[in-house]
Every structure is written in C-alpha cells, then in structure tokens.
C-alpha cells in the first residue's frame, strides 16, 4: 500500500474478529514502533506484547478506555530512570510522552499497511497496568495499542477535518492547503 494511502486509511478500530495476530505481525508492529524518533536517541522505550487472552482480558478490565475486543495489545512503556538520567525532568514528564505518541502512530500505520486494525488506550489507571504487567517501579506504562484483525462490520470512522494551516504567521492561510 502506498504511503499516503496508508495515512489516509489509518483510523482507530474497536471491533475485531477473534483471529489471533501472528507473532510475526506483532514483531513487525513493534519494529515499526521502535523506528519512531526518540529525543536524544535515548534508549528509554520498552514494548510489551500481550496476547495471552487472560492478560488481555485483565487489561480490558482495568483500562477504562480499552473498549475494543482486540486479541492482542502492545504496551508502550518508558524507563523513567534512563530518561531522567539522559534527558532530565522535561524528558521524563513531557518529551518521553511525545515519543510514545510517535511510536504508537508508527504502530497504527504499520497495522494499516498489514491489513490489521489498531486502537490507542490511555488512562489514569497506570498503577493497575503496572500491577498486571508486573512492571518494575522505574518503568511507566504510557499507552496501550490494541491490535487485531478488523471485524467484518468495522466501527464507524471519525470524520477528520483538516486543521487550519497558516503560512509564515498565525492567521495568514496557506493557499490551497489540504490533502
């Protein structure tokens, strides 16, 4: 699939078939996530692939925004010790979260290219996620990306509006801007 078609087709999916996602596909998704930029090239990102149905079910129980029936999850985590040492508090509290977002988007784009669906989940129940995933104290669970094979009747797409695009200064529209 051509790159801009992947970008155009990328959306959040919440209805999946029961077909498991192969470990090969999960590895490719994590590879795509790991290719996303990280501030300072700091090796602080951790991925945990979850496809044990009992653990996925538990994540669905303790993560309120996880409302899909995805059979697999990729948890994107940050090593807080490493990020604080390499990038300071701004790295720990802000930059690392941006980097998690870039990794998540790469995974979602890769899922689209592979014919899979993905959905992001983030909530205020991080302690529960840490308990379920048995994370050490210095590893923060930042986002779950639920992945699976798209159901025959997918969830409805969200209508995305192109944001205003200005040229050189705020309020000066870029002529002909748009995809």
């Amino acid at each position: 699939m051509e790159f801009f078609e992947v970008v155009a087709r990328r959306r959040m999916h919440r209805h999946f078939s029961a077909e498991p996602v192969s470990h090969e596909d999960l590895r490719r998704l994590v590879w795509a996530g790991s290719r996303a930029p990280q501030a300072g090239n700091a090796p602080v990102r951790r991925f945990i692939v979850v496809d044990d149905p009992a653990i996925v079910r538990t994540l669905r129980q303790v993560m309120p925004s996880f409302i899909s029936n995805a059979p697999a999850v990729i948890a994107i985590c940050t090593d807080l010790d490493q990020i604080a040492r390499l990038m300071g508090s701004r790295g720990r509290d802000l930059v690392s979260l941006i980097d998690v977002g870039t990794a998540a988007e790469n995974i979602a784009l890769a899922a689209t290219a592979l014919g899979l669906g993905a959905c992001f989940s983030q909530s205020s129940t991080a302690p529960a996620l840490s308990a379920v995933l048995e994370l050490p104290d210095h590893v923060r669970p930042d986002m779950l990306v639920a992945v699976g094979h798209i159901a025959a009747t997918p969830s409805m797409p969200v209508r995305m509006k192109l944001p205003p695009i200005d040229l050189n200064r705020f309020g000066e529209p870029l002529e002909g801007a748009g995809a």
Partner: protein, 102 residues
C-alpha cells in the same frame, strides 16, 4: 491452592473500579462513555449468571450501546441525543416492569 470464585459480575465490577479512578482526570463526556460501557459489560455478565432468564430488552440495549458508543469520539451532539433516547427507553421499560410488579 485457594479456590477462585467464578462470578460473571466480577468483570464489570473491576471495570467500574478502574473507571471511577479514571473519571477523576478525564472529560465528563468520557465519564458518560465509561458508564454506558459498564452497562454493556454488566448485561453481558448478567446473562452468564446461573438461572439467568433471557432479557430481550437488555440484550437489545447492549446491542445498541455497542453499535453507538463510538460516536462519543466523532459527534458529541449525536451521542448526547442517542443517550437521551436510550434513557427514555429505559425509563419506559422501568415503569412497565414496576407496574407489572404491583
């Protein structure tokens, strides 16, 4: 080894505890979504209870919730209007059931 109770309601109860914490930091619209999601999960769990009688009204409500809940992300006004409709249907059903108990 300790015995693990097989209580179908455990699933929606865990979800409600997690949602209670999550709602403290989230937008009010998502709190509504969490509650409606809990309704869907509770209907599913209740159907697994021993001697559970089929409840077509709740089964249909779950189907409607699962089909419409995504709209909170796409169209707030649509979601609110849909939720109003669901509430009216539940109110009418509650009245019907309460009158039948007299």
């Amino acid at each position: 080894m300790s015995e693990t109770p097989d209580n179908p309601l455990f699933d929606p109860l865990v979800y409600l505890v997690a949602s209670a914490r999550d709602c403290l930091d989230g937008p009010i619209l998502y709190a509504a979504l969490r509650m409606i999601e809990a309704v869907s999960r509770t209907v599913e769990a209740a159907a697994e209870l021993p001697n559970a009688a089929p409840d077509p009204f709740l089964a249909e409500a779950k189907r409607r919730i699962d089909a419409e809940k995504d709209s909170v992300m796409a169209d707030r006004e649509h979601f609110v209007a849909w939720l109003d409709g669901l509430l009216i249907d539940f109110a009418n059903e509650a009245k019907r059931r309460n009158l039948a108990r007299r």
